[in-house]
């Protein structure tokens, strides 16, 4: 039976791990390679690096981080943040990333998703969707949550599937950094709209939120940062908790 995945996410800036509250107020909290290895040894099903300020700054540090991590961690590694072009994707894959997540570039030019999934295969193309509720719908935001594209999240998700995305990483901007739990309404609506796996992200404050993401949000995988990163819970604890709630996990 296919297991639901738990994916700890490390926000990386200038080669160092940080985790922001609503993308601001950053705290430095360690070496990404070491952190990734701790997660992988602890049973993380995948590791995710998000290069949070990459859209504006020098990106070369992330290549080095990915290269060093991939020599130590033998679970899948997803890297996102500031990925603009086929060339960026190629570089990250060559450094040892297994999947690359594309956010702003996919909104601005959906051909990037089409071309990259053709060139590298859908299995390594994740489209990251940052969505914020507006009335009874959700709109897509870009540039780390700063710009509203006005696009409808559900329609956009479907379009990305059609363009060849292998997975969707859906973050609720309303919940990100709040520790109030995933926006399970958003997750389940997108999950029922597409036939590719959905990774839920944004807002995890406790282990029940992970359960909700899978049971109520119908996510295939749940991503979280701060609850793992600050030692509140280990990945192993999270898995045991999910298991106790009847969710299939790899233990």
């Amino acid at each position: 039976m296919l297991k639901n995945r738990i994916i700890p996410c490390l926000d990386v800036k200038n080669g160092r791990v940080v985790k922001g509250i609503n993308f601001v107020d950053l705290k430095d909290a360690g070496d990404p390679v070491e952190q990734a290895q701790i997660y992988s040894d602890g049973g993380a099903d995948e590791i995710c690096f998000l290069d949070i300020t990459a859209s504006n700054e020098n990106r070369d540090t992330i290549y080095d981080v990915v290269e060093r991590t991939s020599k130590k961690c033998f679970v899948p590694l997803t890297v996102g943040g500031g990925v603009r072009s086929i060339d960026d994707i190629n570089k990250l894959l060559n450094c040892g990333a297994d999947k690359v997540s594309i956010n702003t570039a996919a909104v601005e030019n959906s051909k990037v998703v089409l071309d990259s999934s053709k060139k590298f295969g859908s299995q390594c193309i994740v489209v990251a969707i940052d969505a914020k509720k507006n009335g009874d719908k959700w709109e897509i935001f870009t540039h780390g949550g700063r710009n509203n594209s006005g696009l409808d999240a559900l329609e956009y998700a479907k379009k990305m599937e059609d363009n060849g995305a292998g997975e969707l990483l859906v973050t609720s901007m309303d919940r990100d950094g709040t520790q109030m739990g995933y926006d399970v309404d958003l997750m389940s609506k997108i999950a029922s709209k597409v036939n590719i796996p959905l990774i839920a992200s944004g807002g995890v404050g406790n282990l029940d939120h992970l359960v909700d993401g899978i049971k109520l949000g119908n996510a295939s995988a749940v991503l979280a940062a701060s609850i793992f990163h600050y030692g509140k819970h280990s990945v192993q604890e999270a898995k045991e908790y999910l298991d106790s709630k009847g969710i299939p996990v790899r233990i």
Partner: protein
Amino acid sequence: MKVTIVDYNSGNISSVINSFKEVAKDKVNIEVTADLNKIKSSDKIVLPGQGSFKSCVDALNKINGLTEALHEFAINNKKPLFGICVGLQMFADIGYEETETKGLGWISGKVSKIDNQNGKYKLPHIGWNQINIVKQSKIFKNIENNSHMYFVHSYEFIPEDKNVISATTDYSSNIVCSVETENIFGTQFHPEKSDKLGLKIIDNFINI
């Protein structure tokens, strides 16, 4: 001993390289090349494969003499070869991804899309699934039945002769996830991404 990972521009093979180097340490020489002479002089070959069946077959055929060299290695000389993911799928006679494409024809069978049962099963089949070992295999030495391995694929290999199947996994149906003949091995899952157990499989192959 020399183990060669065939670098035929089949997409991202850095994880395969990293994992084999990690297991080999200094004991075994890991080469990454498409050089025909180096392939011929290898003791073992690893055939990775990412992207579509068609793109991988096309990439193999683009390198003059490569499929012939691999054929000589695995079929005529019966030396150990390990196919991973699309590397395994290419053993088949034919694949149906994108368009009908001829495979290497080493193990009779076809590669078709997994039946998602009208959307009941998400595709690609991504994540950790348990393998059901159905016959003793050299690469599964010290690997327990029902171990978790990491999968990413939408197509499955359906061999004609069921005796080649060494493991299956349950997703929509019993999907073939490992095959073995006398000297040809293949896994649909990614041992290079399957943590310590995956590295053990790689170690088993190196030690055959």
